[in-house]
Each structure stands twice: as C-alpha cells, then as structure tokens.
C-alpha cells in the first residue's frame, strides 16, 4: 500500500499508476464479458442451432467489426475523458465522400472521378481533419467535448446531405448507389477464411493496443483522462494529444462508414443516424469510464462482439426488434452497475 506522500508525488508516477490501476481493474471486467459471450452464445445456440452456422457467424463478425472500428476511436476519446457525438455523422460523411468521389454512382452528376483507393484516402483525410477540428475546439478554445461534437454532429450531417445531392443530383436526400471492387472487398470480401472487415478491425485493434500500452502517446492519453492538471505539470502537450485523438476518431469513424458502404454498395445520407450512442454503449460495456483514465482496447473488442452477438441472436431467434432496445438498455445498465460495485469491492480490499 502506498503512503499518501507517495501517492501525491508527481510528475513521474502519475501516468504509470493510472495505467496499472486500469489494467488490473479491467482484467476482472474482461473476464465477465468473455463469460457472457460463452454463456449467451450457448443459450442462443440451444434455442436456435442456426446461430452458430457459418453464415450467422460471418454476419456477427462483420457487424462487430463495423461498430468495433468506430468504437476503437471512441475508446481513445473516452480514455482522455472526452466524448464524440459526431461519430455517426462522421461515418456517413466518410462513406458518402468515399462512394461519391468514385464518380460511378448511378445517376452521377459530379464531374469528379477518382480511383477507389484515392477516393477512400480523401474520405479518411477529410473526416480526420474534421475530427482534428473537434480536437482544436476542445483543446484550444476550451469548449466541452459534448457541446463541440454535438454541434459537429449536425454540421457534418448537413454537409453529408449537401455532398450526396451534389454527387447524385436527383431527388434531394437520395442514396448514392454504386459498385466497386475495393469497397465490396472491404465490406463483403474475405481474407482467407476471415471477413476482410474483421481482419482490418483486429489489425487496427492490435496497433492501437500497442500504442496505448507502450508509447508515450498512449500513456499521455490515460494521464490526461486521469488528471489533466497533473498531466500538464508532467509536461504533456495536452492540445497536441487531444487533437491527435479526435483526428484518429474521425478517421476511424469514416473507415467504419466506408466498410458499411461496401457491404451494402449504397450510402444513404441518413446512414448511421444515432450510431454514436450505440458505439458509446460498446465502449462503456467494454469497461471504459466516462470520467476518463480508464478503458482498454481488448475490453472494447470483446464488448463489440458481445453486443453484435446479442443483436444477431435476437434476430435469428425471431424476437421482435423492439425487444432489442430493452435488452441493450438492460445490458448497459447492468454492466455499469456491476462494474461500479466491483470497483467498490476492490477499493475496500485495497484499504484492508
């Protein structure tokens, strides 16, 4: 047990201490999610054996990956103590830009036409820059992340509508329907036996997990979320870290949107409306705390699988879709209250 003087000594111990608490607290949490995945998986399988068919598993993995890729960015944001309500709009913007810039949309009206890789890169860059603007408003102007990203949510949604109309040029608000090999490969293709989306998701998760755990940037994220003042005194360039984090968030959201677009070969400007709250749910169920400083990539990956599995399981069991709302709400609440209880128990054990 630390003495009070050790606990308040800074700057060096602060980030390390925060991170260590994070890892220890979450080990138990992650174990619960894994247990839930197994128990619920077997339960659904016993009612409806089709649940574990190749088709159904493929569905779950693709869905978990699309939500998951965006949730990875949200995990970083929430670790720094922030929140991003513009994630759903950013998915739509990324998808609309990526698909619209191909110039092959049915009824295309825009003169622009780029090869798919370039179109995707432009979409990621634009969404990344919009994300960085979020970061600038938060870190430089000192506006609450909730407000900045709430404003950006409506702004970006509006821009997505405007761009969609520009690239299709028919009935306002109509979807961009297109066909493209690279998009289809991302959304519906496979790498060996694994869906491309899942491979991409795991690759990104691995990279971000390493960044979070082993680099100064990752430790800075935990430090800022733990205590911004101590992080500042420890010499961390807070605005730079925040801008990078929201930039990554924007890029990952756009990527999630592009994968979704590839899966459907279509982008509606209304796409992913309200997804930000589903994505925040995944990150919170994964064990992150909205007060910042706590959360892991592994937790988010597991939670993305759990939530997608529940969604898919209820659908495959022919449960009317409105029960999914009840289940999702309950899962979130139970997860958070259990976690709160678990934290208190741990605190009590540590005091003893």
């Amino acid at each position: 047990m630390q003495t009070p003087s050790e606990r308040t000594s800074f700057p060096n111990p602060a980030p390390i201490k925060v991170q260590r608490i994070g890892i220890f607290a979450l080990a138990g949490h992650q174990f619960i999610i894994i247990a839930l995945i197994i128990v619920l998986g077997l339960a659904i399988f016993s009612v409806q054996p089709k649940f574990l068919s190749a088709y159904s598993i493929d569905n779950i993995l693709r869905m978990a990956s699309i939500y998951g890729i965006v949730a990875l960015g949200m995990t970083l944001v929430i670790i720094t103590g922030g929140i991003d309500l513009s994630a759903g709009s950013m998915m739509a913007l990324g998808a609309a830009l990526g698909a619209g810039l191909l110039g092959t949309a049915f009824g295309a009206a825009n003169p622009l036409s780029f090869p798919a890789p370039v179109a995707i890169l432009i979409a990621l860059a634009v969404a990344g820059s919009v994300g960085m603007l979020n970061g600038v408003a938060i870190a430089k102007l000192g506006i609450a992340p909730f407000v900045v990203t709430l404003g950006m949510m409506t702004t970006v949604r509006g821009l997505t509508f405007i761009f969609s109309d520009y690239s299709v040029g028919s009935v306002p608000g109509s979807a961009i329907t297109f066909m493209d090999g690279l998009f289809s490969w991302l959304g519906a293709g496979s790498v060996g036996l694994i869906p491309t989306a899942a491979a991409l998701f795991l690759l990104l998760a691995g990279v971000l997990a390493i960044i979070l755990r082993y680099t100064p940037l990752g430790r800075a994220m935990y430090a800022i979320g733990g205590d911004a003042e101590i992080a500042r005194l420890a010499g961390i360039n807070i605005p730079a870290v925040i801008i990078v984090v929201y930039g990554l968030m924007g890029t990952l959201a756009a990527l999630g949107g592009i994968v979704q677009a590839g899966r459907l070969s279509s982008v509606s400007p209304l796409m992913a409306m309200g997804y930000e709250l589903d994505i925040i749910t995944i990150v919170i169920v994964g064990g992150a705390s909205l007060t910042g400083g706590r959360g892991t990539i592994l937790g988010t990956v597991l939670a993305a699988v759990l939530i997608s599995m529940i969604d898919n399981g209820l659908t495959i069991m022919n449960v009317p879709s409105f029960y999914q709302y009840l289940v999702k709400g309950s899962v979130l609440l139970v997860a958070v209250i259990l976690d709160q209880w678990y934290q208190r128990q741990r605190a009590a054990v540590a005091m003893a």
Binding site: A137, L141, T155, L326, K328, L332
Partner: protein, 348 residues
C-alpha cells in the same frame, strides 16, 4: 477547495437574493447578453431578407413550434443545473404520447391493446404524465443511488423506454377516429388568440422561473451543480433533490409528447427520436453550462427561440433543411465558444 466552485455558488446566492423587478431584469441583461443580442440580430436580419418574416402570424407560428422542444428544455435546464443530463427525454416523450393517445376515446391502432383502453380525456392525460414522472423518478433514483454517470443511466433508459414504447404500441401509430374536441384543444386549440401549446410553454416557463429562483428546491439545484460535496455537507438532501429534478424532467417530457400527439393527431412509436439532442442544444446555446450550477430558465428560452427562429427563417427563405443543420451545428459551437471566451476575458 476549487475556486471555480466558490465563484459558482456566489453567483447562485446573488441570484437568489435579487428582486424579480425590471431593474433586476436589466441588471441581468448582461448575463443573457450573448444569446439576446444574437436573437435580436437574427430577427432583424431575417426581416430584411424576407418581408413575410415579420408578422404576428409568423411569430405565433414560431412560438407554437418552439413550444414542443421548449417545454422539455425547461426541465432539461434544471437537470443540467444539477450537473446532470437526461438523454431519455425523447423516449419518454414517445411513450407518454402513445399511452395517453391509447386511453383517449376514439383512438385507433392496429395494436389490439390500444382499442380496449378508454378513459375521460383529463384522466388519459394524467396517466401519460404519471408514466413520464415514473420514468424520471427511476432515472433520478438510479443516478442518485448508484452514482453511475447520468449520461450512461439515461442512455440506457433511453433505449429501454423506446423499447417499452414499441412494445406498448406494437410498433403501430395510434390515430383518432375521431379525436374528442377536449383532446384536440390540447395541441390545436387557442386561448385568447394564442395557440394552446404556447400557453403550456408560457406556464411551464413561469413555474420553472419561480422554482429556480424562489424555492428551496431551486436553491439546492444551483448549489448541487456548483459543488455537490459542499451541498451535502451543508445539509442539502442531494439524492432527493436529484430524484425530484429528474422526475420533473420526466413529467415535462410527457407533457410535451402529449401535446405533440394532439397537434399532429397521431402518436408514433418513433416520435421524439433524437429530440434529446435538440433540447440540450437549446439549453446550451442559451448559455447554461453543462458543468452545472450556472445558467437559467430565461437563457434557455432565448436558446430555444434562437433555434426556432433559424428553422422558421430558413423555411421562409426557402433554403433546404441541410443548410439548417450546418448553421445550427456551427452556431452551437460558436455560441458556447464565445461564451467561454467572454468569461475568460472578464476574469482578467
């Protein structure tokens, strides 16, 4: 002790002791200056662009449309003043609207449950309001007792209550064949030439201002938002005040949902989807801080009208809705950024 908290509670005390008269209103004008100036500039600008904008009929229309979000925004202001937030209002709005509508005589839906329920109109409305209060109470209870962040609790109840709405209505809209005149009055009637929803909004504003300025509950709301620990130590029943604040929010969300179901003559299970964010935007544009303890009902009314005037103006000028989204979003960031900036320069 953080200096921010001290400054906040000072402001709160000053607010409580000040008189309600004209001098007070003028004195307080500086506090509401940013949103007030903006609203006036907006009105002048729009009347220059479009001669149709500046008419009594159009202003009544703005007030009528703004009432739906406005009624909820008054409740949201109180919740946000305690340092909380309520994302479940859109779902409560839908459930209360659906419940009341199904109890109204003459209601019709493809869901068998709705046909069997009939009560006199005032009782039907009362049932809807009670449902809203209960949801608010549950929110407040969980938030006060479990110490889970309000954002998460109400995010969960948002999904849950939306599910209940679908379950109750079977996913079908409830319509009226025909609508009883008493219920029609709630959303489509007039009192002395003013639309009924606006009368409700005005009453809610008056009660909200009185509660926040003149009651122990109101004082406690500001105190908790300023510094929760200090409030607890000075004997305020923090948990109970929070439960009351969320219950009040619930009843207002229900009222708003009931008014809308009368106005559009239908209760949709998808009603009020994402309204929570519009309501919060109205509160925040008015200048109420999401950190709690700073803001007022009057600011919120200004914020709600700014958004209402923008929607109305864009429609009159004939710009597509998308440009409204872009403008409203940027305005939200700009308004709060400017407010933060002014506050920073005032301190020096």
């Amino acid at each position: 002790m953080n200096p921010n908290g001290a400054r906040k509670s000072e402001a709160a005390t000053e607010r409580l002791t000040a008189p309600l008269g004209l001098t007070y209103m003028l004195g307080k004008f500086t506090e509401h200056m940013v949103p007030a100036v903006f609203l006036i500039a907006l009105i002048i600008g729009l009347s220059l662009i479009s001669p149709n904008f500046l008419s009594v009929g159009n202003f009544l229309d703005i007030a009528r449309v703004a009432s739906i979000i406005g009624i909820m925004a008054v409740g949201m202001t109180i919740v946000i003043l305690t340092g909380g937030i309520d994302l479940s209002v859109g779902s409560t709005f839908a459930l209360a609207g659906a419940v009341t509508a199904s109890f109204i005589p003459g209601s019709f839906s493809d869901a068998p449950l709705v046909l069997g329920l009939d009560l006199p109109v005032p009782l039907a409305i009362l049932v809807g309001l009670i449902v809203g209060t209960m949801i608010g109470f549950v929110n407040g209870f969980i938030i006060a007792k479990s110490r889970v962040e309000p954002f998460i609790v109400t995010l969960a109840t948002m999904a849950f209550v939306r599910g209940l709405t679908y379950l109750f209505s079977g996913g079908f809209p409830t319509i009226f064949r025909p609508m009883p005149p008493e219920f029609e009055w709630v959303g489509q009637g007039n009192v002395l030439g003013l639309p009924t929803p606006t009368i409700f909004f005005a009453l809610v504003i008056a009660i909200g201002v009185w509660i926040t300025r003149r009651t122990t509950f109101g004082r406690s709301v500001y105190a908790i938002g300023g510094n929760e620990e200090a409030s607890r130590l000075s004997g305020i029943k923090v948990q109970w005040v929070k439960i009351q604040a969320y219950s009040l929010m619930g009843v207002l969300a229900a009222l708003s949902g009931i008014v809308l179901s009368s106005r559009v003559a239908a209760a949709q299970p998808t009603a009020g989807l994402t309204y929570e964010l519009d309501v919060i935007a109205g509160v925040v544009i008015g200048g109420t801080s999401l950190l709690g303890g700073r803001g007022s009902i009057v600011s919120t009314v200004l914020g709600v009208f700014i958004l209402g005037v923008i929607s109305n103006g864009f429609n009159i000028v004939g710009l597509p809705t998308y440009y409204q989204y872009v403008t409203k979003g940027l305005l939200l960031i700009f308004a709060v950024g400017l407010d933060a900036h002014l506050r920073k320069t005032q301190r020096h």
